[in-house]
Amino acid sequence: MKGAKLIAVMAILVLAATAAHAGILENVKKAGEIKVGVSGKVPGFSVPDQNGVWSGMDVDFGRAVAAAVFNDPGKVKFVPVTTSERFTALQTGEIDILSRNTTWTFQRDAKQGIDFCGILFYDGQGFMVNKKLGVKSAKELDGASICIQIGTTTELNVSDYFAANKMSYKPVVFESADESTVMYDTGRCDVYTTDASGLAARRTTLSKPADHIILAEVISKEPLGPAVRHGDQQWGDIVRWTLFALINAEELGVTSENVDEMMKSTNPSIKRLLGVEDNLGEQMGLTSDWVYRIVKHVGNYGEIYDRNVGPDTPLGLERGPNALWTQGGLMYAPPVR
């Protein structure tokens, strides 16, 4: 099935007429919805519930863009894509935004015809093992069988890490995260590896989550963020500044609950952000109240984080590097002005 989809996507690449097409924003407005490529299988990032209602950080980001464009967070269609088809789907216009816990790397940005629009979540790769093995550190994993997902930065990082520490391992590489998790759970592998947030998410789906620990070592930088097709600067700007608007809103204390009061604020930064005085949004092809729409419907960055992966959720992740720069984290957005 994956093969068929890939071939179909490639057929578009081969057969699509070379005539110039309108900008993505215009196409999206005409279609009345934004197509957002998501994983669909990572709790806390993108997963549908029993009623088909999506939740997660990646999902909420897609809704934020829809709120900015349509003033309606529901005008978004989530398209589950696998790791191996995600870039092709974006390149060929099957999706308008890739918001799929995808790591920003040089190769992907420079060679694959896509542009990353910032960092939604600072992550790093970790290892999960069964407590019964008595492993305390990743340095003790010599000779282990490791379940990995195909075509990820994870696959390369493991190789780097074991080579650097002069250890050997046996890769067991699966097509989907579901399959890797099941095979890890049933003992085909000693270790499951992916981004630390993914480990926390995946642990909740194991048969006995309490039997497994996530080792302390983080072996890589995994800045996860949304990406768009290369070549449409306007659309890239909209997606990039939607992310920055979410972070700036948190920094300025604008939340979904107080945003209406904030419209009367005298703080010039807040006035500019919410478009009370300026019409910055119109310069990107949106309306001047674009940030108001985003925060009103979806909330600010902190709200999105707490709702999906924060300490009160099953994932229970502290803010850590994802706290604002004013609170010792790395979240820092250029000013809206």
Binding site: K2, G3, L6, I7, V9, M10, L13, V14, L15, A16, A17, T18, T83, S84, F87, T88, Q91, Q107, R108, K111, Q112, G113, L133, L141, D142, G143, A144, S145, I150, G151, T152, E155, L156, V158, S159, D160, A163, Y169, K170, P171, V172, V173, F174, E175, E179, M183, T186, G187, R188, D190, R229, H230, G231
Partner: protein, 394 residues
């Protein structure tokens, strides 16, 4: 002087000439096809460039940076994508090759069993065929992998036979022969024995044609092929050491590991294809006229000889063409490996490599070309075999 209307009429004549018209039609179709292919290539190149994608085959020389669980040739993370492609290709050929041999052997046995006069045996073969060929292959692969091999005990509780062979959910781990200096002699002896056996069989046939006397060439050559390398082995002082697997940490160290992914894929492919091949064999044997067998018996041939000299050669004419397509199907079906993580061509090249480089068009094109080439090669070999048999049977 020539009448100008003359040339015109001869031109008109050409249009009415069926040979000229068929040439013209073919040329037009060819030109249209070339135009379509040209447009597709141009379109692709243009679209790739417009999308800011790198194209070309330069990536094959870049460092891959990932590991593969089964490598028949030297491969490490420092090898190139081109090398990774070869590893994947060999893994595909390995599982297909073994699958073809197993399925053909099993298919012949089951096909003959299906025709057995023994009611129980023939029913058992029929039940096997009907069950196996009516369940989708993908499910069978998952069945072997998830339901049979995965529940095996973990390495620390591995089933073990004489501390040499171990079976666990990491696969079948067996001692690995390590050849020491002098092993070349054994290999040489084996090659010499096979060559001698081939000559002997030929000579025996000529001898029988000329004199009518039979020489037990098959028994002698079997002895030769087994005996000569053994003698060489003894002469060289047994230049072989066994690398015995031992449990160390998480996994077994040393020895040869047959991956559960490989076992599951190989079993599923072989058993599935064998069911179809069995039916081909049955139809082939049943197509041989009963009178042929009666005639052979009347001439005093024993049942074994009747089967070997009269029935099989004629049945092969019917069996080979569908057998070829079973082999082709098996090779193509091996790409289902991707669902259980067996590192075949599709998994390593059209999976990991495609994702790390992003060059979908080139990689899918190469992958398709490989399957096409493999299938055409198998077709070619089987067709040659078929031609030989068809002539003899006629």
């Amino acid at each position: 002087m020539k009448d100008p209307s003359d040339t015109r009429s001869s031109k008109m004549m050409m249009l009415y000439d069926p040979r000229f018209r068929s040439w013209l039609a073919q040329a037009l179709v060819l030109a249209a096809l070339a135009a379509v292919i040209g447009a597709a290539v141009y379109n692709t190149a243009h679209n790739l460039e417009k999308a800011g994608l790198t194209s070309g085959f330069g990536f094959l020389g870049e460092v891959a940076g990932f590991d593969i669980s089964l490598t028949l040739i030297d491969y490490s993370r420092a090898s190139t994508y081109g090398r990774a492609f070869l590893v994947g290709l060999l893994n595909t050929l390995l599982v297909s090759g073994i699958g073809i041999l197993l399925s053909t052997a099993l298919g012949f046995i089951i096909g003959v069993t299906r025709l057995s006069p023994n009611w129980l045996i023939s029913r058992m073969a029929a039940v096997y065929i009907e069950i196996v060929r009516n369940i989708p292959l993908l499910l069978q692969i998952l069945f072997w992998y998830i339901a049979i091999l995965n529940p095996l005990p973990r390495p620390r509780q591995a089933l073990d036979l004489m501390d040499l062979f171990f079976l666990c959910n990491r696969g079948l781990i067996i001692p690995k022969p390590v050849w020491l200096p002098g092993a070349g002699l054994v290999l040489g002896a084996l090659i010499a024995a096979v060559a001698a056996a081939a000559v002997l069989v030929r000579w025996a046939r000529h001898h029988q044609m000329a004199t009518g006397r039979r020489f037990p060439a098959y028994y002698v050559s079997t002895g030769l092929i087994i005996g000569l390398p053994l003698a060489a082995l003894a002469a060289a002082g047994f230049p072989i050491r066994w690398d015995v697997p031992t449990l160390q940490g998480f996994n077994f160290r040393g020895g040869l590991t047959v991956l559960p992914e490989f076992i599951a894929l190989c079993l599923a492919l072989s058993l599935y294809a064998a069911a179809f091949i069995a039916e081909n064999v049955r139809s082939g044997i049943m197509s041989v006229d009963k009178g042929q067998i009666e005639a052979a018996r009347a001439l005093g041939h024993r049942p074994g000889m009747t089967l070997r000299l009269v029935v099989i050669p004629q049945a092969m004419r019917v069996i080979i063409p569908p057998l070829t397509s079973q082999h082709l199907t098996l090779v193509k079906n091996s790409s289902l490996a991707v669902v259980i993580g067996y590192p075949d061509l599709v998994h390593v090249f059209a999976g990991t490599t495609l994702n790390q480089t992003g060059q979908a068009v080139e990689i899918i094109a190469i992958t398709m070309l490989v399957y096409l080439t493999t299938s055409l090669t198998i077709s070619f070999i089987m067709n040659r075999y078929n031609i030989r048999h068809a002539m003899r049977g006629a």
